[in-house]
């Protein structure tokens, strides 16, 4: 198990390295660079261009140097947490990103947990009561959930909460906490607000996961090892949870890691609609503004999250499935 872990973590290093190159390449893609468009902007509005400052910035980011030198400079900054500067907002990227990043991760994690808590029991019930009334009801809800875009669900919810209760369910904080520094009360406030976006974001995943668990479990329910366990005298509930559910859920644990980045990118539109202070809206504006250090850093950090998520799900999978652990040891 330890060698397995060590190997997986070692593999992460070149992966992250390649991702950082790709991210940086994306930064460089648009013609020209930020400073040329920055200077052009300033000139257009008739402002004085401080040639010395521009030159200093050019040197700082090595904008006239070849790709690999620029990459080296950016990367050595990234190593110490300096992701460069957002030109549009004229603030360090790191300052803009961190809070939003953590809120995004928190939103995604809570959504995943919520999805599982709802989907797993529904899937188990559907599989063990195949073709029953509730199985059909869940199937109907599931297909609705999968086919209904979550941003329109968000819009509908906003509309009704506003017209019926006169309150807005947008945002992640009450107005008085939006700009307040972090405190226990602010965390509590976050938890009272996070449920609405979580519920909206969880609908689609819940529907899919429920159908998947149902299908996997149906494959397992009459497997010989389940009959063996029943023949031992185990009660149906303990039997169900210990054997077929366990085996049916295994493959889904590996998808946990991919669920995180999927949720992060999938939540962009919902976040726009609901005005959530997550990374999605900021990334979108950064891309529109060609604010490329900001955008590139986002892409890089989200990729890092994906890699970490994949690592976590690999570890989980190896932990729950001895067959995988065994293979890892063999090779």
């Amino acid at each position: 198990m330890l060698t397995f872990l060590a190997r997986r973590i070692l593999i992460m290093i070149p992966t992250l390295f390649i991702i950082s190159i790709v991210s940086f390449f994306i930064i460089q893609l648009p013609p020209g660079d930020f400073l040329t468009s920055y200077v052009a902007n300033l000139a257009q509005t008739g402002e004085q261009v401080d040639e010395a400052q521009i030159a200093a910035l050019r040197a700082r980011y090595g904008l006239d140097e070849p790709f690999y030198v620029q990459y080296g400079k950016w990367m050595s900054g990234v190593m110490v947490g300096d992701f460069g500067r957002s030109f549009a907002q004229n603030r360090p990227v790191s300052e803009l990103i961190w809070e939003r990043l953590w809120l995004t991760v928190a939103l995604a994690l809570v959504t995943v947990v919520f999805t599982w808590i709802i989907a797993v029991p529904m899937g188990i019930y559907s599989a063990t009561h195949q073709y029953s009334l509730w199985d059909n009801v869940f199937a109907f809800i599931g297909f609705m959930g999968m086919s209904f875009p979550s941003f329109s669900l968000a819009l509908i919810l906003l509309y009704f909460s506003y017209t019926w209760f006169g309150t807005s369910v947008g945002g992640l904080f009450s107005p008085e906490y939006v700009d307040a520094p972090w405190s226990a009360l602010k965390v509590f406030d976050l938890f009272t607000h996070i449920w609405v976006p979580v519920a909206i974001l969880a609908v689609e995943g819940t529907a899919g996961l429920m159908r998947e668990i149902r299908a996997n479990l149906l494959d397992q329910l009459e497997m010989p090892y389940v009959i063996t366990a029943r023949a031992k005298g185990l009660s149906e509930w303990r039997l169900l949870l210990k054997y077929p559910v366990r085996v049916a859920i295994n493959p889904m644990i590996s998808s946990l890691g991919w669920m995180l980045p999927g949720l992060v990118s999938g939540s962009v539109i919902v976040s726009m609609v609901m005005n959530l202070p997550t990374t999605g809206p900021l990334l979108l504006t950064a891309l529109q503004d060609q604010d490329m250090y900001l955008a590139g850093s986002f892409v890089f950090l989200l990729s890092v999250l994906t890699v970490i998520g994949t690592l976590v799900s690999d570890i989980l999978l190896a932990w729950v499935d001895p067959r995988i652990r065994f293979k890892g040891q063999e090779s």
């Binding site: 063996t228 031992k232 009660s235």
Partner: protein, 354 residues
């Protein structure tokens, strides 16, 4: 020489002592395509310390009979008639297994405690994600007042008894780390760890290769003697029956068509189906993969009900106008211990009819 009175007692014992008395058991599957009568009113008495072999082509209802005994039928299958009387461990009235609720606590005490079962495919009959030790100790903890370490000790002891080398190490192994033969030994250890009174072995060697087959069969036979339990050996292979059984029941389409002690059956098979099965046993010099299917025709599809004797469409000795009318009952026509369900043996014994 034994005295007449001793003789009488052993005779009474072998006649009277019954562990499980199956009477007129019927199992049906209610499917969208129709009703399948998988088990069609069978009678079977299982005696302690004896091995009863149940043999027949695939699909004739052997596994379903066994699963009905433990109430672990597939979800569409139901016991629709009959009784299965299990003698109590110490006095008291017999329990009718057919009346117990399939999910209730009574039948769960009996499963693994009084009656255990091992299955055809050791590859898939053990959970892939739990250790051998976990799966065996679970049985102990379910049926015995033991702590976890005690249960583990019992598991190790049991693995040693069934000939698993290095049992202290193997309890921590997962099924995929073991060979097919070892897995079947682990299955046997799991089934026997609570000392059941009856072991149902459903084709325990069909999925194993030949050399391992005979090892497993002699292991089951040895354990039967050592632990003093009854064994129901289910197989489609008369060779397995010859190697293990004391008595044999031959099944066809959900019915028992012939029943006799093993020697009697091999020496003097009466039912044309039994004769057909025996003709198909591969002999030395012939190919081993010659199968039972050399009886002409094949098992009809389960939704059609054959009128009259179920075997008559395939039977070379069928009597038109007789065999397609009534189902012949299973009766002692050739000897007290030898019963056969075939009209061929009715005619020459007019005294039996009176």
């Amino acid at each position: 020489m034994s005295t007449p009175s001793e003789n009488r007692i052993t005779a009474v014992n072998s006649r009277m002592e019954t562990l499980l008395d199956i009477r007129n058991l019927e199992v049906r599957f209610r499917l969208r395509e129709g009703i399948v009568r998988a088990v069609h009113g069978i009678n079977l008495r299982i005696a302690p310390n004896r091995t009863i072999g149940v043999v027949g082509e695939s699909g004739c209802g052997k596994s379903i009979t066994a699963k009905a005994m433990l109430q672990i039928l597939p979800s569409r299958g139901k016991i629709t008639a009959g009784e299965m009387l299990l003698a109590p461990r110490d006095g008291g009235p017999a329990t009718d297994l057919a009346k117990l609720h399939p999910k209730g606590p009574e039948i769960r005490r009996i499963r693994g405690g009084d009656i255990s079962m091992i299955f055809q495919e050791p590859m898939v009959s053990l959970s892939p994600v739990h250790t051998i030790g976990n799966q065996i100790t679970e049985s102990v903890l379910l049926h015995r007042p033991a702590s976890k370490p005690e249960a583990l000790d019992r598991a190790i002891e049991m693995l040693r008894l069934v000939g698993v080398p290095m049992p202290e190490k193997r309890v921590n192994a997962y099924p995929h780390e073991l060979s097919g033969g070892l897995r079947q030994r682990c299955m046997i250890a799991m089934a026997l760890v609570c000392r059941p009174r009856l072991l149902i072995a459903d084709e325990p060697t069909t999925a194993l290769d030949v050399t391992i087959q005979s090892q497993i069969l002699s292991l089951i036979r040895r354990l039967q003697r050592e632990l003093g339990m009854a064994v129901m050996m289910i197989t489609h292979d008369l060779g397995v029956i010859a190697e293990t059984s004391d008595d044999v029941a031959v099944m066809y389409l959900g019915r028992i068509v012939e029943q006799a002690p093993v020697k009697e059956l091999f020496r003097n098979p009466k039912h044309p189906y039994t004769q057909g099965l025996l003709d198909c046993i591969p002999r030395f010099g012939k190919g081993r993969d010659q199968k039972l299917t050399s009886i002409p025709g094949s098992v009809p599809d389960p939704f059609t009900t054959v009128p009259g004797c179920p075997f008559h469409p395939r039977c070379a000795k069928r009597i038109a106008g007789v065999c397609d009318r009534g189902v012949p009952p299973l009766l002692s026509k050739v000897g007290p211990e030898h019963r056969v369900a075939c009209v061929l043996y009715d005619a020459p014994r007019p005294e039996a009819a009176s």
